[in-house]
Amino acid sequence: MNGRVGASPRRVGGHERVTGEQAYVADLDIPDVLHARLVTVDCARARIISIDTTAAMGVPGVRLVMTPADLPDPMPRFGPQFVDRPVLAIGETHYHGEAVAAVAADTKDAAEEAVRLVKVEYEELPAVFTVDAALDPGAPLVQDPSLRPNDPFSATNVLREHRVGWGDLDAAVADLVVEHTYQFPMVTQFAIEPHAYIAAPEGDGISVWSTIQHPNWLQKVLARILGLPLSKVRILSPDPGGAFGGKQHAKYEPLVAFMALRAGRPVRLVLTLEETFQAVRRASASIRVRTGFRTDGTLAFQDIAADYLIGAYADIADRVVGKGSYPGCGPYRVPAARILARSILSPYHPVDRVPRVRRAAGQLGGRVEPRRGRHRPRDRSARAPPPQPRAPRRVVHPVRHAGRRRLGAVGPPGGRDDRLGNAPAARSRPRHRRRHQVRPDDRPLLLDGPTPRRRQHRRLRRHVGHGSGSADDPRPDRGGRARGAARVGHGRDGRHRRRAV
């Protein structure tokens, strides 16, 4: 099964994975490490009156109980789009599960005992949990307006609005209009590996191990928040045990880094699965879709309003709301469209993913939707009273490039964010990806003929960018190859080949 063109090579790093040698963050053995646990309060929104750590500090083995008072003033904040998330909740908690303090101890038992003994006095505050409640003019604000100065939305719970459209929707004539509002619940990515973080002071800098998907972004966040130059912040991100978009951005790394620097020892925080569920999620959404059909089965218009309930802190949710909404009309020729998507703050934990509008609007690019059983507009239209377009799905043709270019308002067709704009290229992408895999074989590398430069370039980029270690591991002694077989590996530059018998 190994390696030649057209065959399925064994997964790189697979040997370590089937033998249990693969070390995920929680498996790392860091000498002298302290075990951290989070202190939370049992409600969505609370005013913190006081935190008493005396009893907790009395537990043998407890080295540190970190409260907001131990952090710089003003409280350092971070976030990939808005710098809104505090290292620890300050004054008020904004979602259930938000940490108000954290304990570090020699043993897990001591840390757990100390968490129980941290006395947090708090007053529960009213909170909004639905789109309608959040949009009510009298609704309590999830974020203090001072966090987003000069922002016209800062006095509301709307973080941002995204508007895309073309054609004259009001003048569009339809023979049949189907309208429905689709509800999407919040869901967890549930990567099977719970989030885990380790920070270790190293000289005058710090090393941080994390299950993070964007280590370079994390490095910048930590350097800024700790006041260190980039060169003093080392991020190590071993292969995660699944992420699904849920481990993209900094979560508890800043807290663990501050704790490690304060304790002068490595600190390790491995979230429980329950804490992981409260660390990140996919947004819930309410998406209203109004679609106009003509009797010949073509579409007259699409009018879409999508409201996403994102977390109390923006994380990356709003950017994903933008990207998830503008291709909402799917691969169909739609002469007039209006898409309004709103990111709405709510007292829930952060969001890294959102449901795509396309799911509501009835189609996924390139995917064959089931004809029945889905309550999507196009299916609904087939059940609606006459004039009934016959099986409109068969008549409505996907747009070709020319039609798609109408999306130019949001970026050039075929650009990085225009996933539908260049369908053939998009389809070919996974095949390129597959070629990243090492080809440990004794055969000549036939693929190195016509377009090697491009492929090697990609491989190089991936290697440098991910730093996960195993993707391009040059060690040839893996994969259960037959003894004595010639081996070919490639080194860091992605070009070096080695032959050994």
Binding site: M1, S8, R10, R11, G13, G14, H15, E16, R17, V18, T19, G20, E21, Q22, A23, Y24, A26, D27, D29, V59, P60, G61, T107, K108, D109, A110, E113, A114, F190, A191, I192, E193, P194, D239, P240, G241, G242, F244, V270, T272, L273, G479, G480
Partner: protein, 175 residues
């Protein structure tokens, strides 16, 4: 330790090696394997017996190590993922997981491999339904179930062929 902790002496045979040590009465088998014996192949995920990432074999039966107290394993024979490959050579089921693309992120794989191994030990010729039942306690969030089931069936078939081959060789020798 925060309160007086009862530590009890236990003896276990872990991956064919007899180990004698003391465990805290409230620690699970998973705590002890990972934190005291350094066997981190069994993973910590749900801690409520839902995911199967911590599956180990205790006296021939698969067990979620997060649900068993370490003291309960006193005197038991344990096999963890670290004990399957002998002298660096993958066991057939481990090789089959790789050949059939059953491994993606890999976090659930130690548990999956252990469950598959135990299944084949107990039932060398499982049907597809029996395979599904055998790995029902192991979640794979990457969704490799199909490939994992194929790997298990292929391993069963390969050992079958091997046995058949041996039988034919013996027959030939006798003739």
């Amino acid at each position: 330790m925060t309160q007086p902790v009862h530590r009890l002496p236990v003896t276990m045979t872990v991956n064919r090696r007899v180990r004698e040590f003391e465990v805290a009465a409230h620690h699970t088998l998973l705590d002890v394997l990972r934190d005291e014996l350094g066997l981190t192949g069994a993973k910590e995920c749900c801690l409520v017996g839902e995911c199967g990432a911590c599956t180990v074999i205790v006296d021939g039966r698969t067990v979620d190590a997060c649900l068993m107290l370490a003291v309960e394993a006193d005197g038991a024979r344990l096999t963890t993922i670290e004990g399957l490959a002998e002298e660096g050579r993958l066991s057939p089921i481990q090789g089959a997981f790789l050949d059939h693309g059953g491994v993606q992120c890999g976090f659930c794989i130690p548990g999956q491999v252990i469950s598959a191994h135990a299944l084949l030990e107990a039932n060398p010729h499982p049907t597809r339904a029996e395979v599904d039942e055998g790995i029902a306690g192991n979640l794979c969030r990457c969704g490799c179930y199909e490939q994992i089931a194929e790997a298990i069936l292929a391993t069963a078939k390969a050992s079958d062929d091997l046995e058949g081959g041996r039988a034919r060789t013996t027959e030939a020798a006798e003739r």
